[in-house]
């Protein structure tokens, strides 16, 4: 294949602003491989970083699971948030409101840097799901998809979980529910069982029989973890679809720096992006009106950008500057690698 792409498209090349070589190198990158290694880096950081004494605080917008006491370099915000909300109502209306607000603010600051890129690149539970997917592919098994109707229904679950995660602690604080429900979302979060285990801490792998509430919650946790493992094997990013962190992120995403942008004029609606999207987001291909194309289920993994053959139809921007965009050359390079592998 000797024909070189350098000869092509004299016109669009001239529009580029960054040094051409740099820009081409970024856009032509073997994206999946790059992401794979970046995910490993963050996985190691968030699951084992604590062993080095690193401490990033208690307000991380990703599943740096708090139950992984020694390994975590900081705590997933959902844990302290639920504890704070479970304070007596009186306290909540008084001094504790400041604690909550300042916590939320720090969480927000962390979050807006990467937007849902926290999910696509950083979250260890997301990464575990991707590894389970890799395992399935190695075994040659195919994945499943939801029908459009189920997709639309199931898509609500994460908001319901988010609401429960707020309402139940508030109810505990107000005395309606038992403290045994603890941080209710954490009790059912697969990360509580999986992340500490990966750091060789097996404390969470038991059912807690000390009270009826704890029996129920730890049993539910075991069930969701089982579902997580089985689900991720047949459905890409199975859990992310239901994750309340994802819902939380989406509600705060308006001012984020890191964005997924679409130029509908350049889109041929070929559906390539939709084909590779782990979250089955149809709008990524079909919506040609809305430049802010990050939908609520999106994890900003940027696989769609890497799989779009149209120059500049999809891109990731940081504070308005393009950091990675779809290019014809990059697309061809990546797909050639696929057919050759």
């Amino acid at each position: 294949m000797k024909s070189s792409l350098d000869g092509m498209a004299p016109n669009w090349r001239q529009r580029l602003t960054l040094p051409r070589g740099m820009r081409d190198a970024i856009n032509g990158v073997d994206f999946n491989r790059f992401r794979f290694w970046l995910q490993i880096f963050f996985f190691v950081l968030l699951v084992y970083g604590g062993f080095t004494g690193l401490n990033l605080g208690n307000n991380l917008p990703t599943f740096s699971c708090g139950y992984n006491q020694n390994g975590r370099p900081g705590v997933c915000y959902l844990l302290p948030l639920q504890h704070q909300l479970a304070m007596p109502t009186k306290a909540l209306l008084g001094y504790a409101s400041l604690t909550i607000l300042s916590g939320l603010f720090i969480f927000f600051l962390w979050f807006i840097v990467l937007n849902k890129g926290w999910c696509g690149f950083v979250c260890p539970l997301g990464t575990v799901q991707d590894w389970i997917t890799d395992l399935r592919v190695k075994m040659g098994a195919r994945f499943t998809r939801y029908s459009q109707a189920s997709f639309e229904t199931l898509s609500w679950i994460k908001y319901v979980l988010l609401a429960l995660m707020i309402v139940i602690p508030l109810g505990i604080g107000a005395g309606y529910f038992s403290h045994d429900l603890g941080a209710p979302y954490c009790m059912i979060c697969p990360a509580r069982l999986i992340i500490p285990t990966l750091a060789l801490n097996f404390d969470q792998l038991v059912l807690d029989f000390s009270s009826p509430g704890k029996i129920v919650m730890t049993t539910l946790g075991a069930i969701t973890t089982g579902l997580f493992l089985a689900g991720s094997f047949v459905k890409k990013r199975f859990w992310c679809f239901f994750c309340p962190m994802s819902a939380f992120h989406y509600l705060l995403s308006k001012p984020a720096f890191f964005r997924l942008i679409k130029d509908g004029d350049k889109c041929t609606r070929c559906g390539d992006c939709y084909t590779v999207c782990d979250l089955q987001i149809k709008e990524i291909a079909d919506d040609v009106k809305n430049p802010q194309i990050m939908m609520d289920d999106c994890i900003v993994c940027l696989k769609c950008v890497a799989a779009c053959p149209e120059q500049g139809a999809l891109k990731a921007t940081f504070a308005g500057r393009t950091v990675f965009e779809s290019t014809e050359e990059g697309f061809i390079k990546r797909m050639e690698k696929g057919t050759r592998a």
Partner: protein, 448 residues
């Protein structure tokens, strides 16, 4: 002006030369003529001469294609297929599946006036020339391109005429597989339906070739078409150059060759052409005048030898810089993205590629077609659009209104031409095209 097709020959169906004196319907040659003397060969020869001789300084690498057409269309040479030969009547039949299972696809859509006349007996008088010509070719004993015996014909259920042609091809003795294509392409239901159709198509090919679809052979097939798509995209990129370094008549010929040529030879030839165009680009060699109106061609597909309209445009001093037709751009532009390189995922991804970006007018909506035209005009810095509708091609005729409206709203001039394969409207068309190009030039001058 005497155009390339206006040979002064009668245009009403005439007895074919093989059966001089007999009724026009009796086509069985008593004394077969040498191939070069047959009507279809002479028709091809004449057009080819115009394509080659009417323009100075054709790229050297185009010789491969000029030669190929001479060999196949004028001398009746056969391109030997690898394995069974599977005819397709539309770009929607995923050829990667055919290649993967060891067969060779050949696109049957035909552009010959000679076959159009023969095929007329199958269809009502006001029908599409392309469908008639395809039927005419399939019923001939000595068809061009000489594709040999077809082991299967795949007929995607697109427009009504093609749908009804299915049973006729069957009556002629061809094995026909109706590849079920949905009429709506936006819904998820249609996508799932189509993915299923494509899977049953794969099943059908397996019956013909006896080979199983595997991860390995499908990947290899994808790599082959990928190479073609890449070569096509590079070629397409050169057409953005202004002033133009490559003409549309050659671009159509190149993609028309893809219909029947050996895939690897085709890729090599296009890659050579690209290398030459790169040199031409670097040395600022021009293929047209600096101020030549830049035209995007849309509508019913020009298929050799019916390159009437593109040739008229370029002989009149315009350049076809891009097109939105299923005999060129739409055939090779879109590329398949695969996430997991397993058989199932590859097949589904292929299905998506053949359905989702398609701007064929048989679908209910044509938003994508209109958006694509606007984008092509922008990308190729075009000055206007020529819209060809074959008389009798209802879907293209019906879309004229909405396309015209969109273009009008965006200030893009359009010439709508209703025509067919017969050469007798050529004088009148040439006047209209000249006037259209002239008006574009005036517009450009006024703007400056």
């Amino acid at each position: 002006m005497n155009g390339p097709f206006n040979s002064g020959k009668p245009v009403v169906p005439e007895p074919s030369p093989q059966s001089a004196g007999a009724s026009p319907r009796a086509r069985k040659p008593k004394e077969p003529l040498p191939f070069g003397k047959t009507k279809q060969a002479r028709e091809a020869e004449k057009v080819l001469n115009h394509i080659v001789d009417d323009f100075d300084d054709n790229p050297k690498a185009m010789d491969y294609f000029y030669d190929l057409f001479r060999r196949v269309y004028c001398r009746g040479e056969t391109i030997a297929p690898d394995g069974p030969l599977i005819g397709t009547t539309c770009i929607q039949a995923p050829e990667e599946l055919i290649y993967a299972m060891g067969a060779t696809p050949v696109r049957l859509c035909n552009g010959s006036y000679h076959y159009d006349q023969i095929g007329a007996e199958f269809m009502p008088s006001k029908s599409c020339s392309l469908v008639k010509a395809t039927l005419g070719m399939l019923t001939s004993d000595d068809p061009v391109p000489r594709v040999g015996k077809l082991d299967l014909v795949v007929n995607p259920t697109t427009c009504d005429q093609k749908k009804k042609a299915s049973a006729m091809m069957q009556d002629m003795g061809h094995a026909v597989f109706d590849l079920e294509l949905p009429n709506v392409k936006e819904s998820e239901a249609s996508r799932v339906y189509w993915q299923r159709s494509v899977r049953s198509f794969a099943e059908e090919i397996r019956k013909v070739t006896g080979k199983k679809l595997t991860r390995k052979n499908l990947k290899a097939a994808l790599a082959r078409t990928q190479r073609a798509e890449k070569a096509f995209r590079v070629l397409d990129g050169f057409r953005k150059a202004s002033p133009s370094i490559f003409l549309g008549k050659d671009a159509f010929l190149v993609v028309n060759a893809y219909f029947f040529d050996n895939l690897d030879n085709w890729c090599e030839a296009v890659e050579r052409l690209n290398d030459e165009l790169k040199i031409r680009y670097d040395n600022a060699v021009r293929a047209a005048q600096k101020k030549a109106p830049r035209i995007v061609f849309t509508g019913s597909p020009p298929i050799f030898p019916n390159l009437k309209l593109p040739l008229l445009i370029e002989r009149a001093g315009g350049v076809v810089v891009s097109d939105e037709t299923c005999s060129a751009n739409r055939m090779l532009y879109d590329m398949t993205a695969v996430d997991e390189w397993l058989v199932n995922d590859m097949v589904d991804s292929l299905a998506d590629k053949y359905l989702k970006p398609c701007t064929c007018p048989i679908f209910t909506k044509n938003d994508d077609r209109r958006r694509r035209l606007l984008e092509l005009v922008k990308k190729f810095e075009a000055d206007g659009i020529v819209y060809q509708a074959f008389a009798g091609c209802q879907v293209y005729e019906m879309e004229q209104r909405s396309v015209a409206k969109t273009l009008d709203e965006n200030g893009i001039p359009m010439l709508y031409v209703e025509t067919d394969y017969s050469p007798d409207d050529e004088g009148q068309l040439s006047t209209r095209i000249e006037a259209f190009l002239e008006s574009i030039k005036t517009r450009k001058r006024m703007r400056q």
